[in-house]
Symmetry: C2
Amino acid sequence: MNQNIALHNIPAKSDQHCCNCNLNSLCMAVSLDMTELSKLDDIVDRSKPLSKGDMLSNQGDDFKSVFAIKTGSIKTYITSCSGEEQITGFYFPGDLIGLNAIDSGICQDSMQVLETTTVCQVEFEQLDGLSTELPRLRRQLLKTMSKEICNEQHMLQLLAKKNADERIATFLLRLSNRFKTRGFSETRFRLSMSRHEIGNYLGLTVETVSRVLTRLQKNDYITVENKEIEILDMKALLNLTQGKDD
Amino acid sequence: MNQNIALHNIPAKSDQHCCNCNLNSLCMAVSLDMTELSKLDDIVDRSKPLSKGDMLSNQGDDFKSVFAIKTGSIKTYITSCSGEEQITGFYFPGDLIGLNAIDSGICQDSMQVLETTTVCQVEFEQLDGLSTELPRLRRQLLKTMSKEICNEQHMLQLLAKKNADERIATFLLRLSNRFKTRGFSETRFRLSMSRHEIGNYLGLTVETVSRVLTRLQKNDYITVENKEIEILDMKALLNLTQGKDD
DNA sequence: CATAAAAGCTGATCTAGATCAGTTATATAT
DNA sequence: ATATATAACTGATCTAGATCAGCTTTTATG
């Protein structure tokens, strides 16, 4: 039996439902049952793949939708009145972004695609409406925002207190952890962002990012080959993040 | 007629209801009508005044309640595994704190009273329950968290990109703004936190905080007398926050 | 009220990381 | 495949703010 033909018999769209999505245990759909999933599914718009550089939102836009990432990665950044950019986060499959615009009704940050990426778009008013009948969805939205606040509080600590080595080590371990959660390798992964973007996010210059990565490689904590990272000594990196240098 | 006696005829508790609270247009009660306010009132516990140094929560505690500040001020901070503290925010009357624990069910930060302070305590499970019947309350909780995320994103930018003068100027103007919103003077106020705490929050040492405050005073942008601040030249401070030095 | 402790200020020195400058490698376009 | 632009790396130098040290002022305590 020809597998290709068999595949053709299955409508391509069949995977394109929340109930079949392998991320429904990560995104806002977590904890919903089949009936609830289908209600969520009704208000989700799925995009064709977006290309590197595409914008999901621009700071100042009217707030309409939130986005759940299916594949790829996205950076969010705020632009100060003097035009300076500050990257506020990198997001991966299962992440839900855009909720920070609820208060003002205006997009508070810009969202740019870092590599070929697909997203699920949900109009916030519809999501908010659905959450009135699905307590678990309501709770999940609160949880998502709560977690986002905690993440940012840890970033505050990183920026206020940690040196360059500690920042980079923390960054790599945090990525490693997030990839692990998503079922990818925790020791080998590809950085979809540039050194410049890493530096911007971590409050360091490109040069410092380069130097630290080189140093970590010389210590045999990691190997770096362009955007490919392999973590060789997780424990050493973890010690670094805690300010120990032995 | 003796006013004191007249006052005695009014139960002391009469002000102690959401419907009479002068902060009900600032805290989570914003946008609730009288009926809704009274339902919120039913689940609010009001504390006797807390003293400087008292803890509202300790990082790691089970999450039970959120707090709305009535008078005074509170700092929140996270403690890293190596025991280092990072102040994550200063909070004033009308502010609602504790929502960042929703995700984990564990208090993610410690909350300490900076001066004599009174708070309204609300069990989160009750608040969450009430929010199912009061859409405006539900929306307000989302807004509060959304705003908190945006605030922290601006702090990320401050810590990643701004120099010491810009950080202090931004800090003072932000305080000024918050006092203004609360009906206090925007040009004269008292810092309830120490120089050490300001430095910790802004990623600076105490010495640098002192030096910058002295410098701003020498430039006639502000006057500093211990904890009393007067802003003399709002525009100059604003220019500073935008990285202009003329 | 006296006294100890904590908070705040200021000068001198040091250093992590920024800045500047140049090279090499990679990605994109022709 | 070749040219060009962009990203990444590395060395040399500079500097903002940390660190160290000593002093003064304010606050807390018996």
